[in-house]
Amino acid sequence: MIEEIITSGRMNPEIDPVLHVWGWEIPFYLFLGGLAAGILIFSAYFTLRGRQDELPIAVKWMPLSVPFLIGIGLISLLLDLSHILYAWQLFTNIRWESPMSWGAWTLLIITPLSIAWIAIWMEDIFPKWDWKFDEVKTVVKWLKEQRRILAQILILLSIILGMYTGILLSAFNARPFWNTSILGPLFLTSGLSASAALIAYFSKTELEKRLFTRIDIILIGIELFMIVHLFMGHLAGTQVHIQAAQMFLGGAYTVPFWTFVVGLGLLLPVSLELLELKHKFIPAIVPVVLIIAGNLALRFIVVSAGQASRWLY
């Protein structure tokens, strides 16, 4: 039996013939959110472990980038809004059922906390730093005393932020490719991996470099495992999920995904990192650039493929 569906009278821009309402802004925003979350998690975690002096790049330096990452992320989210003059409505409503809503709120809370977190380390990284006003000095002093609590809150919020970048997509059952709860942990892990790679790149000591290279290798392993699981889950699902998976197993996304995300973004850099640990000379910039590019590619491809996947009726 042949079934042919002819749709007449509908050619809504960006909806037909294939949905593409989300362009580069959303995947870029998800990438930056994941990166910021990863940096904060490492910084707060190693503070709790009392290793701030041993791992200065991870704990003290990298968080400096977080407000910028979040800021650029928010700008790109705003650029995506087609009714931007009403954007403030995001912050006059809290809707727990809507990941878009609680994600925006999480970002709103995490931004000042990340600035407070940076303030704690300012005098450590810039020895000549002077807060000038006594009020500020008192606040920073108080923050330093609260360091452990702040670190715990930051870890919790950053995990939420990192997971959210995936849950934003997996909450849409209308798009079968996204509709898998593994996207949350996958995007969190991939954000952590990108930040570990960056820390390893910037680190000055052998100890910090090797530690984060090792962490990154483990994270990439977990990521590969989750990607396999993502497809196993879809292939064991309903017809629409099977078709969604087939876009990657012979369909239009096969080459970009397996080449840029899995090959160049995960397998190649992880091999280079393993060689690095064996003291082979690998230009340090190579794995980090590959990992960041793979991270971006993962989000761009997932956002695009999800919109191309659909229910059949």
Partner: protein
């Protein structure tokens, strides 16, 4: 009150009158539409089957578009009609990606737009524009909670289906078979 619509696939001829009526009634911007016609052909020549459907937002009782909206722009109005409040919509398009029927679109002014079941007419006791112009009387609009309404009677006596109920949306536009 539970407003719903039934489209008789035995009567619909796919003339597109409902599409044009909606565009006129609701000032739908050119190049966009809130309702549309789908023709499904099954079988291999010469043994063919044909189903023609006039489709629109299903005003789902468990609407994912309402659930994922970060503001309260997408909401349930009287009788379960799903509406978008222009001044609360930020244009994030989460609702568009949530709708398995692709029933929504971005209005050129930036907010999200879709079928309203012509609530402005329904409140006055009239039928939605599409229903009222249909030359074959293929569409029935009414209150499912009233057992004597035309739609309740049609649903009780005819075989019917809704579109992808397995998506969990509880659609309220039905197709009489």
């Amino acid at each position: 009150m539970r407003y719903a619509m039934a489209v008789d696939t035995q009567k619909c001829v796919g003339c597109n009158d409902c599409v044009v009526a909606c565009q006129t009634e609701n000032d739908v911007p050119i190049g966009h539409c809130r309702d549309w016609i789908v023709e499904v052909t099954t079988g291999t020549y010469p043994d063919l089957g044909l189903e023609i459907r006039s489709e629109r937002c299903n005003h789902c009782a468990n609407a994912p578009c309402v659930r994922t909206c970060p503001t309260e722009a997408s909401h349930y109005a009287a009788g379960g009609i799903v509406l978008v409040e222009e001044d609360e919509c930020i244009g994030c398009k989460a609702c568009i990606t949530s709708c398995p029927y692709d029933a929504r679109f971005i209005h050129p002014e930036g907010y999200v737009d879709k079928c309203t079941f012509c609530i402005h007419r329904v409140e006055k006791g009239q039928n939605p524009a599409c229903v009222s112009v249909c030359p074959t009387h293929a569409m029935i609009f009414g209150n499912l909670d009233d057992p004597n309404s035309d739609i309740s009677k049609a649903m009780a006596t005819r075989k019917w289906k809704s579109l992808i109920p397995e998506a969990g949306t509880e659609p309220k536009v039905f197709y009489l078979l």
